[in-house]
Amino acid sequence: MASILPLALHELSFRVHGRRIIDRISVEIERGSSTVILGANGAGKSVLMRLMHGLLVPSSGRIAWNDADARRVRRAQAMVFQQPVLLRRSALANVSFALAAAGLPAAERASAALEALRSVRLSALADRPARTLSVGEQQRLALARAWALHPEVLFLDEPTASLDPGATREIERVIRAFSAAGTKVVMSTHNLGQAKRLGDEILFLHEGRLAERAPVDRFFTRPASAEAEAFISGELPWT
C-alpha cells in the first residue's frame, strides 16, 4: 500500500476578513525526517497545521496528498493540539473511543488501547477519569490516543506550550520514540531548543510566508534569511 506522503502544498493561501494569515506557501512534506514548523506567535503555524490536516479549507491554492482516496488520507493522520481535549471517561476509554471511530472492531480495541497507554507510560492510570489527570498526563494521553491509530503522519501543534519542563521532557521522549518507529512527525513550536532537539528539518514561517526551509543544523548555524536570523538571535539559548 502506497504512503499518503509526500504532501504537496501549492500556492496555499488562507485569508480571514481580507487578512492573509497564510500567504502563498508552496512546499513538499516528505517521508522520513521529522519536520518542525518554527515561527513567532502569530506567524501562522497553527493555521498551516490545520490546513494540512484538513480542519480548515484554503482560500486559494492546493493541498495534494499522494493518495486519491480521501478516507484513507484522513485515517492515516492524527493530530495533537496544544490543549488536550479529552472526554469525560477513563483514560483507557478515551483511547478506545478513537479506535472505535477509526473502525477497529470491538474485540481488538481493549488490547490496542492498553498498548498505546503503555507506550506513553500511562498504564497505571488506565481506569482513572481522564479529566482528573494532570495536564502533562492528559497531553501524554492525547499522544497515546493519536498514536493508537498508527497514523502515517502525526501533527503536533505546540504540544508542550502549556507544560512544565518535566512534562515537556516526557512528551519529547514519546515523540522521539514515535519518530524512531517510523511515524512522520510534523510539529509546530516557537521554542528553539525543542526545534533543535526534535526536528530533522525546519520550515520557518514569518508573517504567513515560508521564509526559509533547511536541515536543522544548517538552519541554526547558517540561517539564510534575515527574518530567521533575527528570530534565532532574539530567543534566549536555554529555552
Binding site: R50, H53, L55, R74, R75, A78, M79, F81, V85, L87, R88, R89, F97, A98, A101, A102, P129, A130, R131, T132, R145
Partner: protein, 231 residues
C-alpha cells in the same frame, strides 16, 4: 399563611391516601413528560448545535421563543387533537393521564431542546477540532457531546421538570381534573381555590413546592458527586 403551613404539615403528617394518590400521579405525569421530552429534545438540541443548514438561525430563535409557550394554549391544541371530533380521537386518550403526559411533553420539549442546544454549542467550541480530527462528525459528534456534557444537561432537564410540575393550564384541559383519575397537585390546588378553601389550597401548594425542592436537591447532589468523580 400560618394556617396554610399548618395545613401543609398536617397533610404530610397524616399521609392521607388521596393526597398520596395525587402526588404520585403528579410525579408520574411530569417525570414521564420529562423523559419523553428529553429523549426527543436532547438529540434535537444537539443536532441543531452541531449541524449547519439553511434556516438554522431561524430555528434557534423559534426554539428559544417556544420556551415561553403558554400551557393553556398547548392544552387547547392537544385537546383539539385528541378530541373525538379531532384527528386522533379514535385513540380515546382524552381525559387520561396519557393525554396529560403528551401535553406536558409538548410544553417542555422546546425548553429542553433550546437549553441543550446552547450547552452543546458551547461544548462544540471546545471539542470540535479534536473530534473532527478523529473523524467524528455529524450524528456521532452530537451524541458524543451529549454524553460528555451530561451533567450540564441535567440543568436543562430540571428546568423542564420545573415547568411541567408547576403548570395547570395544559393538564386541566386535557385531563379534566377527574377525581381519582387525572387530578394532580396543580389542578387540585385550582379546585380547592375555586371552592374557596384557600388555606387548604395554599397548603397543597407548599407540599408541591417542597417536593420540587427535594427533586432539585437530589439532582444537584448527584451532579456534584459525579462531577467530582469524572472531572
Amino acid at each position: 399563611m400560618i394556617e396554610a403551613l399548618r395545613h401543609a404539615l398536617a397533610l404530610i403528617g397524616a399521609g392521607d391516601p388521596t393526597l398520596i394518590e395525587i402526588v404520585a400521579l403528579s410525579l408520574q405525569v411530569s417525570l414521564s413528560a420529562v423523559l419523553g421530552a428529553a429523549l426527543l429534545g436532547l438529540p434535537l438540541g444537539a443536532a441543531v448545535a452541531v449541524a449547519r443548514f439553511p434556516g438554522r438561525r431561524t430555528l434557534i430563535v423559534l426554539l428559544n421563543a417556544l420556551m415561553g409557550l403558554p400551557p393553556v394554549v398547548v392544552g387547547l391544541a392537544i385537546y383539539l387533537l385528541l378530541s373525538r371530533a379531532g384527528p386522533l380521537g379514535e385513540a380515546g386518550l382524552l381525559f387520561t393521564p396519557g393525554a396529560m403526559v403528551i401535553a406536558q411533553t409538548v410544553l417542555i420539549l422546546p425548553i429542553i431542546a433550546a437549553l441543550s442546544r446552547q450547552a452543546v454549542e458551547d461544548a462544540w467550541v471546545e471539542y470540535e477540532e479534536q473530534l473532527r480530527s478523529l473523524g467524528v462528525e455529524g450524528v456521532s459528534a452530537a451524541l458524543t457531546l451529549l454524553w460528555d456534557i451530561r451533567f450540564s444537561l441535567l440543568t436543562a432537564v430540571l428546568a423542564g421538570l420545573g415547568r411541567a410540575s408547576a403548570e395547570v393550564g395544559a393538564v386541566m384541559i386535557v385531563g379534566g381534573n377527574i377525581d381519582g383519575v387525572t387530578r394532580v397537585m396543580t389542578t387540585a390546588i385550582a379546585l380547592e381555590t375555586s371552592k374557596g378553601d384557600l388555606p387548604l389550597a395554599l397548603g397543597l401548594g407548599i407540599v408541591l413546592i417542597l417536593i420540587v425542592i427535594a427533586l432539585n436537591a437530589g439532582a444537584y447532589l448527584i451532579k456534584e458527586a459525579a462531577q467530582r468523580r469524572y472531572g
